[in-house]
Amino acid sequence: MIAFLILGALAVAGAIVTITAKNAVHAALGLVFTLLNVAGIFATLSASFLAATQVIVYAGAIMVLFLFVIMLLNATQPITSHDPVPYVREVAWLGGSVLIGALMIIALNYKDALPLKDGIAGLRGTVSQYTTLPELAHRAPGSAAAVGEVLLTKFVFPFEAVSILLLVAIVGAVTLVSRPANQTQGETAQTLEVDPEPAALPERGTGQSVVVREEVRV
């Protein structure tokens, strides 16, 4: 209970930093803090595999990407221009508070269908052609073995669909960021002149074209 209270309070504090910080890097670091606390909350819910995945995928990979893009785009300055929509801030806070209140009423009316002890026992998985009862008894609830077995038997189709999605995402991201091949020379020089900050991505592109040119010469 104490662990939950501390982790929950810290997660909410990080979330408030995320949505109010004037500096974009501070906002991203606030979100990293929240994500790490959410990982701890997963651990208190006996979801150890998800806690580890949360740290590795969210706090590790996704947030590094975010920080990289924030620094690449130089989006750290606060935006001081006037709001085009009047009272958008007040309306957002009011609407958000109403939503939190409504969701809390639903949450407070929720009653557990079965005792939590039985629920945690169910997170060990079920007896199947791959797992026997004595093996289940030794397995930690929500461990990689338990989640992995369900993922690769009952949900193998969504699992494969997600792998295709990731492949498409990789190809899409590379296509979106790379420049058209026929105008690499002129366009790269032009954008570099106008905007020297996002040097990392153009450099990679020119580096590749340099390699290609050398190969052609050889």
Binding site: T18, F49, A113
Partner: protein
Amino acid sequence: MVPTTSYLVLSAVLFGLGLIGAMTRRTAVLIFLSVELMLNAANIALVAFARAWGDLTAQTAVFIVMTLAAAEVAIGLAIIVSIFRKRETTNVDDLATLKG
């Protein structure tokens, strides 16, 4: 043992804060950060329900949501970078037209 209700309250608070952030922020990257916060709030609720029902399906769903979030971030940030190259801004108020 902490009851499921406490986790649902925490999830509601984080989701609401994420929604407020998504509505008040003006930079595309920061709106993305708020959306990530909302996804995490939903994940907390899913894991809490997984424990309440003793069913690993919800934990599997959370795993898939995390993968989707990774894919979404990769594509979304690539779009933001390419918009920034063209327009020199990521302020969503300046990006209100579809015309490239």
